[in-house]
């Protein structure tokens, strides 16, 4: 049927269907790339393991030589990469959307750094390990979020002031982390790097379960608010006028996003710029077809998975994933600050 002969309402419904189809297609493409990435990292490392062998190993078969590599080295790395990447991606886009500014990502405004400093403090000073470290990281992340919020409060909070204070606080926290690491003489350089740039070296499968639970719980909480989050992009006044409960929505979003970032940071360290980059990349890919939460999670997972692979095998030396994503993110940060100076930038 010619769309011009349709009644407007029918035409609009058709436009929505087309959009929904394009959205599903783009999500499917992202999912397929992620799956291909997983297969790549499981089959090809320093040695090649055929896909059929990999599948047999995952099925529980004992394959001499390859079994250890796939099950103990490659699989945990892929799983942890995907989970941390998805957490960072979700946490980043939630903050960026809520504060209407791509610079307002938790890794730029000091929340990841806070979680990281908290984790290092727990490990170095109190010799903690395991879930206790995650708890400290989350409390520290939430504490920093609260501190930034209070410091930038002056009859209301504006995004710009909050971001500047967050950047300042992040720098301070980074030096605290560096100081703590210097005080810990037994620390290896590799471990130190994890807490400064982030790394999935030495990933273990038993770290995956708490991360997965956090992702499902807090990611689910964010998804349940996705329509409110979209409405917040039009400003607080419009959102309130459309029936969004501002305070509850904001608290839910902040707690969920901080928890996601903190849980991921407690496992991998603050992998540089993944939270910051995922949303804007997802936004370009989806071209305004609905909520960016799931696309950002997929992009975040891809960034960590492929960034880590590139750091291990595609570069002349072995680098932790945070170095690779840092190299990707830094130019974009400079670009945003330049653009933000000219006009008020949004996603």
């Amino acid at each position: 049927m010619n769309r011009l002969t349709l009644q407007p309402a029918a035409r609009f419904s058709q436009m929505r269907r087309v959009q929904a189809r394009q959205r599903v297609r783009m999500l499917a493409i992202l999912g397929a790339i992620l799956l291909a990435g997983v297969m790549l990292t499981l089959t090809l490392g320093q040695s090649f393991t055929p896909l059929t062998t990999v599948l047999r190993i995952l099925g529980g078969a004992e394959v001499p030589g390859a079994g250890f590599t796939v099950r103990e080295l490659r699989l945990p790395r892929a799983v942890i990469s995907i989970l941390t990447g998805a957490c960072f991606g979700l946490g980043g886009i939630a903050f960026q959307t809520m504060l209407r500014n791509p610079l307002a990502s938790p890794d730029i405004i000091g929340i990841s750094t806070g979680a990281s400093t908290g984790a290092v403090f727990a490990i170095v000073v109190f010799s903690m390990s395991g879930p206790a470290v995650s708890v400290v990281a989350i409390v520290a992340g939430l504490g920093v979020a609260l501190l930034i919020y209070m410091l930038s409060w002056r009859q209301g909070v504006t995004g710009g002031r909050l971001i500047l204070i967050g950047i300042g606080l992040a720098a301070m926290l980074q030096s605290v982390t560096a100081y703590l690491l210097m005080r810990a003489p037994s620390w290896t350089l590799q471990e130190a790097l994890r807490w400064i740039t982030g790394s999935v070296n030495g990933a273990q499968l038993d770290q995956a379960l708490p991360l997965l639970i956090a992702l499902l719980l807090f990611g689910g909480l964010l998804l349940s608010r996705s329509r409110d989050l979209e409405t917040l992009r039009m400003g607080d006044d419009i959102a309130a006028g459309l029936g969004v409960r501002l305070a509850t929505t904001r608290i839910t979003i902040v707690i969920s996003a901080v928890a996601l970032v903190a849980f991921a940071t407690a496992v991998s360290g603050p992998i540089a710029f993944v939270a910051f980059l995922s949303g804007p990349i997802a936004s370009r890919l989806m071209a305004h077809r609905g909520s960016l939460l799931i696309p950002s999670a997929l992009v975040g997972a891809l960034l960590v998975l492929l960034g880590d692979y590139a750091g291990q095998f595609l570069l002349p030396a072995r680098y932790p994933v945070g170095i690779v994503t840092g190299v990707l993110g830094a130019p974009y940060l400079v670009y945003l600050i330049l653009r933000d100076n000219k006009s008020r930038g949004t996603l």
């Binding site: 009644q7 407007p8 309402a9 035409r11 609009f12 419904s13 436009m15 929505r16 209407r100 009859q155 349940s224 329509r227 979209e230 409405t231 992009r233 039009m234 400003g235 006044d237 419009i238 309130a240 006028g241 459309l242 029936g243 969004v244 409960r245 071209a287 305004h288 949004t346 996603l347």
Partner: protein, 266 residues
């Protein structure tokens, strides 16, 4: 759609330490267009924000059809009362259709899918604002007047009985100002929507509003039909301006000509 009345009782409100409204009471008549006028910082936007529940008053309350709005569930209030702020933000790249569809937010639940009623409300709002043909355009590509019509369309899609607007004509060329005010009048006449708006331009307020609220220093100076409220004395007291108020040759409503220091005939 039945008309809804809005009643403000002894409002005291402000920001932090600063009290802006001192004991303001106002009855907004159902099914009428009310314009709030006054000099800068007289509290007119603050009053509108309290009426729309964006600001909680320190004392007093606002009743919508007899119910205190600060105790109504947020979503239910949003089904009855719409608010358009002065400079709303359109997300980058959003289309007219998507933006107007956001007006259905208060009518949708977590698991409620987009319904035929939602689609009809959106189509209706676009047609009332003459934006149907531009539904697929990105909002940031439109002219200022068209953009304001899109925001009004969003508020229409919300299908509320009361619509509050904060300076809906600011930053618009005069032709677009008239276009927007004509549109609001249509809406008031065809749907019986109760409209309350803050307006800067006195003559347009007198021309388009059924009732004028003149504010000065955080209080209401006068309320009533434009013919009663709009006098040379009011312009002097509220705006500190000497003027002549004459009958508008087109509508017969009062209109104001400022005298100024260089106003005398040569």
């Amino acid at each position: 759609m039945s008309a809804s009345s809005l009643l403000a009782q002894s409002l005291v409100a402000g920001y932090g330490e600063r009290t802006i409204l001192n004991d303001v009471s106002l009855t907004v008549q159902a099914g009428k267009t009310t314009a709030i006028v006054g000099a800068n910082a007289c509290g007119k936007s603050t009053l509108l924000r309290v009426l729309s529940r964006l600001l909680t008053p320190e004392q007093g309350e606002v009743l919508l059809d007899g119910n205190a709005i600060h105790r109504l569930p947020t979503r239910r209030l949003a089904q009855q009362l719409g608010f358009l702020p002065q400079s709303p933000i359109a997300p980058e790249g959003i289309t007219v259709l998507e933006l107007v569809s956001r007006g259905r937010h208060p009518h949708q639940g977590l698991f409620k899918r987009w319904s035929a009623a939602d689609e009809a409300a959106v189509a209706d709002a676009l047609s009332a604002t003459h934006m149907t043909a531009l539904a697929e355009c990105a909002v940031d590509e439109l002219s200022g007047g068209q953009r304001q019509r899109v925001w009004i369309a969003m508020a229409l899609a919300q299908q509320t009985d009361v619509l509050l607007l904060d300076e809906p004509t600011t930053f618009l060329d005069i032709n677009h100002q008239i276009e927007v005010l004509d549109l609001l009048t249509d809406l008031n006449q065809t749907r019986g929507t109760t409209i309350v708006m803050v307006l800067h331009e006195l003559n347009l307020a007198a021309r388009y509003a059924d009732r004028l609220v003149a504010m000065a220093g955080g209080n209401i100076y006068a309320v009533g039909e434009p013919e009663e409220v709009f006098t040379e004395q009011m312009v002097r007291d509220v705006f500190g301006l000497e003027s002549r108020v004459i009958d508008d040759p087109v509508t017969g409503k009062p209109m104001m000509i400022p005298l100024g220091r260089h106003g005398a005939c040569k």
